[in-house]
Amino acid sequence: MTVHIDENLVQDDAGAVNCRHCDAALGVAQQPLRDARVRESDPRTAGPSVRADSGHFADRPVVLRQTFCPGCLTLLQSEIVPGDEPSGRTRSVVAR
Amino acid sequence: MAYVIGIDIGGTFTDAFVADEGGRVAGVKTPSTPPDFARGFLTVLDELSAELGVATGALLADTHYIVHGTTSTLNALVTGDVATVGFLTTRGHGDSIAIMNLEGRYAGLGSDQVQDMVRTDKPRPLVPPQLIREIDERIDHKGSVVVELDEQGTRTAVRELVAAGAEAIAVSLLWSFRNPAHEQRVGEIVAEEVPGLYVALSSDVSPRIREYARSATTIMNTQVGPRLRDYLRPLEVELRRRGFSGSLLVMQGSGGCVDSADAPSRAITTIGSVLTGGVVGCTRLADELGHRNVISTDMGGTTFLAGLVVDGEAVSTTSTVLNQYQVNVPMVDVHTIGAGGGAIAWVDAGGNLHVGPRSAGARPGPACYGEGGTEPTVTDVDLLLGIVNPDNFLGGRKQLSVELAAEAVRAKIAEPLGLTVDEACAAIYAIQNAQTADLVRKVVVTSGQDPRDFVLYAFGGAGPMHCASYAADLEIGEVVVPLGPTAAVFSAYGLAASDIVLTAELSSPTNFPPDPAEFNGAFQQLRSELDGRLAAQQLRFADVEYRSEADLRYTMQLAEVATPVPVGDLDEAGLAGVGAAFSDRYEQLYGKGSGFAEAGLQLITYRTRAVGVLPIRPRLTPVGPADGDARPVTSRRVFLDARRGWQDADIYDYRHLAEGHEIKGPAVVEAPTTTVALPEGCVGRVDRLGNLVIRYTQA
């Protein structure tokens, strides 16, 4: 059964995950964003909503980490997190 | 001969009621004529004259006053067909009406909607951002000026608002109720800049602490004021042309009326005037029947309204919620607690049966109307249980389909639950009645009363079909179904029997007790304001009564309790008496031991109500004594009580009944406007005014 994992991702019966906008291959059920493009940048590039530099309050580095569709460059995942820890955001829908 | 007339214009019908000094009364009903409601107003006057057998000109010439209840202000606010308003407020606080104390996301919603939090939203903004201007000025909590009013900035802001399309201006500045100087000066500046522009000041409209509700109230008042003015002025001119020389009065949500010249500047007070007509009618009827405490229940096709009369007076509230906005307006406390006869019965995903709160509304209406409704409603069930006669619904004005009703119940309820249609109907009827009892109970209990101390009045098309049942659940001993000559136009009767009511209030928060001079001074100020407004009504009053109250609370509590204050200046002992009265009332509302006087008291708002008693009070005519026993016209099988199942019941035609007739349940009384169900264990007796009074002989 085809599952829309969210507004950008679709997973087919075999567990292949593709972009819903351009059909680019992105990954598999266990790692839906395996082949997506990841970029880290300064949190303040997220826009004016980040009001102050993280260095005022914490010693660990903080990054804006974004994941894009390699085909159409749609933004698939955004997080502002300590830069010294890997992303804790994953998901896996059981293919059936 | 001197007449008084009540005219109630609802969305569907325009009702009129006339009474003369000699005790003659008449009522007529015609369709409303939206959007030009004035046309229906004039038509119903012609019909009323015909009913009395006099020319319209002659009737109008002898009419002292006409009391008009109108749904137009409320409709305008609900539909958004209002004047474009510009809003001026203190710098830094223009977002208050958007933040809505955040409660605007859920205010006025039912608990099932609140629970579904993800799907809740705030309403459309009251004023779009381009029509809001903040001005430099500031007054503090004591009323002292912290920042002077920036007059030049105000002038610029007014010009900008008018250029942006404002047809009227609402002004609400922080702490203006403590010191209205800045608001008054802004009002003058608006008048200088744009002479004749409608402007409302929050310190006039609602001088009460809490800026969000005060601003919302002032804005809504400004939205409807110009429209009400444009409706009433030509109407009054036309009435004068037709020979009317009396006063045209407009009903307010408070249950009292106000002269039509005074109404537009306080237009917000007229919202809810149609809702209150029924409660005012109950108050007058209760007066006639000697009932001091009454629960008024009005169950129509689409709504169920409940109100209270305590000690002969309609219970009032000082604020209400409209379109999810908090509005400060003294009103008869009418609770919309259900969906009426249109309430839909449904089965949830877990296989549980529910009734309401969704309603089939007027369109498509119940399945039995044959207008496309497929969902079973309470009205369908009333039909299938034999309570409603399909050939004699609303006096035969609408033919109902038993087949469509049965199909709806079968498909949506009986089959999914594995019940017969009869069993499903019995369950829906019982659930509807029990829920009604829960909701009515909440209304009574939250006002600190016990339902067992009340007589219940039931009217509206569907109320009398259910009242004997829900009243029994509330352990109420006596139920009155108003059925005399007023029955069809009960609200219009209430209007004709009303008085002038003006309310003035002023917040001046302080620790209690304040200096007696301060306390007495506040009430003197309110009294002189009211005397001025009463004189401006240009009416002859039989009497003028004043009622004063102060909103007190324990320090830092949300809930202020309106506490009666004796008329006249009070000394320290008198103030202590007010404090004691507050404590008593508080314990009555929230339970013994809940008061905690050590926390201290605060006084938030002073309020005085003036009642100008009008000289003509319509008297109802007796229906005449019965001659022999009541005779049923037929009998049929009905289901009125789950414990007793289907029973043969006598069916009576109300038009054949007279004072003293007694009817034992199980029975059904068919009247032109409604149907009354009398389960076994009830006895209905026709009183001298033609009302059916139900009492219980067994539980």
Partner: protein, 662 residues
């Protein structure tokens, strides 16, 4: 000093217990009412619905009674309280629509009381128990004080009712009991395990004195105690009448079936959703004043058939500070979003809902801490962060279903912006109050619409903020503004609701200034994450400007509309801070909005232009994040927008104009 294990504290490390185990422990010391399964099965739809509706209305009446009688602004104006009806072993049958976080562990407290108080001092008609020990349950931190009462029918303990509310101060080093310097619980308010404060219908004066003695505002706490007694009394009177009318067995059968119904409907809904697992992480910056660490809670939610497993493995160990929470706090953190997002159309009978979920968490972690870790701000620290991480995982799960995705939200207002004022008020009386303006946080974006601007918090369906005038009347303060903050809602195809800010000065206190306690994380990094590519909401931002010229500006006829207009020394306020405000010091506090949903470049440009007109998004935000160019008249410049979006799509992914994506 680091947290050292305390022998003897194990007794209070409460975990949910099964009804069977509870009955075994209670034995015959208290007769517990029970009803045969056959009575539950025999319930007809009519009786079930009538009695169920009445139980709901009793819960509402309890809430109303508590709210009206309470003396705390946090209760009366902000709805930071709740009420519940529980069965004889404490399973929750019905919870009120107020702070669901608080009510989520009332069952644990009532159940612990049964097991530990049944023999001595015993449980009898007219008794009520008070508890503010979050290891036992009944609240998330010590300020959450619950009062629960057994109802006896015919000599048997028929059911429990409970009321819980935030008390503004119950002692501890700092006013408001939020000791921002705390390294462990001994800096904080003393946790009080269940104690029989009402016996046979009367308040025990000795116990009440012990209870009130710790508080800086004993009168207020006493008033709230009476409010909770009143709420329980209201419920007992109504429940007794219900049992008289329908019989205790039938009423209990309805309670059982209400929980069964909630369980079955939740299971049915879960079966409709694809199986899978969703992992997420929630951060908090700073554990106490002076601390510059960042801590995390990790959750993997696994949905298999009709069950949910919340596995917190990987979460950081408990820390020296006040941000930890107990197991009750973890559970209280999950419940609000489970109720609002997954059970919006299912009865809130938590007793049934809990049967569908399993929690895996290691004691000694930041959201399942052991005594004596500091938990003074647990409700809004690790409890809240647990809500955030649960929101992301549950929303991800719901997003896979075409119908259920309509009830997902991105994370709402990422934290509680705590600002506490204390001192002497304008009438000369002492006061302590929590500024509750930040109740008006932004709600998370939905999968089909924007989040509600200043719409509230995830855990309180009916939050409220007090009017500016009410705060200025009650406390010695004067606001320069309270306003919605542009760009504070997480950008996305659907925008998160904006948060807001308040800016004020001390005013009219005989002391001149006021004492201020601040505890508001989300400054080093935003805490309300977005979904489906949507960005997080903005950061928390508190600024203190010392020795300003604000009074001179007033005298000159101007109200400053931004901090830039003020002279003075500007300090960014750290996450945890305690200080005094002088008469010319301006305090500005800006709380968070909700996370966004979807790629902001896919947002309808007209919606962005409308946001700019309504000051929900700044022109800079519109251009830099949404790629929308708005002209002088406020309309979308279509051509410039197309060009801008094309460029932004590449540059944000780190690609030059000509580069081909790999």
């Amino acid at each position: 000093m680091p947290v050292i294990p305390v022998a003897g504290s194990e007794k209070f490390a409460n975990l949910p217990t099964t009804p069977e185990e509870t009955r075994r422990i209670v034995g015959d010391s208290v007769r517990l009412h029970d009803v045969d399964r056959s009575v539950v099965d025999a319930l007809d739809p009519l009786t079930y619905e009538v009695v169920r509706h009445r139980l709901t209305s009793i819960t509402e009446e309890m809430g109303e009674a508590l709210k009206r009688m309470s003396g705390s602004v946090v209760v009366t104006d902000c709805n930071d309280f709740d009420a519940a009806i529980m069965d004889e072993v404490g399973d929750v049958v019905q919870v009120g629509l107020y702070n669901t976080e608080l009510a989520a562990s009332l069952d644990m407290a009532a159940n612990w009381t049964l097991r530990n108080r049944c023999a001595r001092p015993g449980i009898a008609p007219g008794d009520m128990f008070l508890c503010n020990d979050p290891w036992v349950g009944g609240g998330l931190h010590q300020n959450d004080t619950s009062l629960f009462a057994p109802l006896f029918v015919d000599g048997e303990l028929f059911c429990w009712t409970g009321a819980v509310a935030h008390q503004v101060d119950l002692g501890g080093v700092s006013p408001g009991s939020w000791s921002v310097g705390a390294t462990d619980v001994f800096w904080e308010s003393l946790p009080t395990p269940p104690v029989k404060i009402v016996e046979g219908g009367e308040i025990r004066q000795d116990i009440e004195d012990v209870w009130l003695r710790r508080s800086r505002v004993p009168k207020l706490v006493a008033l709230d105690l009476r409010a909770k007694i009143g709420a329980n009394n209201v419920a007992h009177e109504r429940l007794r009448a219900l049992c008289d009318k329908y019989g205790a067995d039938v009423v209990k059968a309805v309670m059982r079936r209400t929980m069964d119904d909630a369980e079955q409907r939740l299971r049915a809904k879960l079966r409709e959703i694809p199986d899978g697992s969703w992992s997420s992480v929630a951060h908090q910056d700073s554990a106490r004043s002076g601390d510059r660490g960042i801590y995390r809670i990790v959750l993997t939610l696994t949905k298999t058939d009709d069950r949910l497993v919340f596995d917190f493995t990987g979460t950081d160990p408990q820390v020296d500070g006040l941000i930890n929470c107990t197991f009750a706090g973890l559970r209280g953190g999950i419940m609000p979003v489970l109720l609002t997002m997954v059970c919006g159309d299912i009865p809130w009978a938590c007793g049934g809902i809990y049967r569908c979920i399993e929690i895996i968490s290691e004691p000694g972690t930041i959201n399942n801490c052991t005594f004596p870790a500091g938990i003074g701000k647990a409700s809004v620290a690790s409890g809240w962060a647990t809500t955030n991480v649960a929101t992301e995982c549950l929303a991800g799960m719901l997003d896979t279903h075409p119908e259920h995705r309509k009830r997902l939200m991105s994370v709402c207002c990422g934290t509680w912006d705590f600002a506490l004022l204390a001192g002497v008020d304008q009438r000369g009386g002492g006061f302590v109050t929590m500024l509750c303006d930040s109740m008006a946080g932004g709600l998370g974006a939905r999968s089909d619409s924007d989040g509600v601007d200043t719409g509230g918090l995830a855990c309180i369906p009916m939050g409220r903020v007090a009017d500016v005038e009410m705060n200025e009347f009650a406390f010695p303060m004067l606001y320069l503004w309270r306003r919605e903050e542009p760009d504070s809602g997480g950008p996305g195809r659907f925008r998160g609701g904006v948060g807001a800010s308040s800016c004020f000065i001390p005013y009219d206190s005989p002391l001149g200034g006021v004492h201020l306690v601040v505890s508001a994380p989300g400054k080093a990094l935003p805490l309300a994450g977005g979904l489906s590519g949507g960005l997080p909401a903005g950061t928390q931002h508190d600024v203190l400007v010392r020795n300003t010229d604000v009074h001179a500006r007033f005298a000159a006829g101007r109200i400053p509309a931004s901090l830039d207009e003020l002279a003075g020394t500007t300090d960014l306020v750290p996450t945890h801070h305690e200080t005094d405000l002088g008469a010319a010091d301006v305090y500005y506090t800006h709380w968070q909005g909700g996370g966004g949903y979807g790629d902001p470049l896919r947002r309808d440009p007209a919606a962005v232009a409308a946001d700019v007109a309504a000051h929900k998004v700044s022109p800079a935000g519109a251009g830099d994040v949404y790629g929308v160019v708005v002209d002088d008249r406020g309309a979308v410049d279509e051509d410039a927008t197309t060009t801008r979006r094309a460029a932004l799509r590449r540059s944000r992914a780190g690609l030059g104009a000509e580069e081909v994506p790999a």
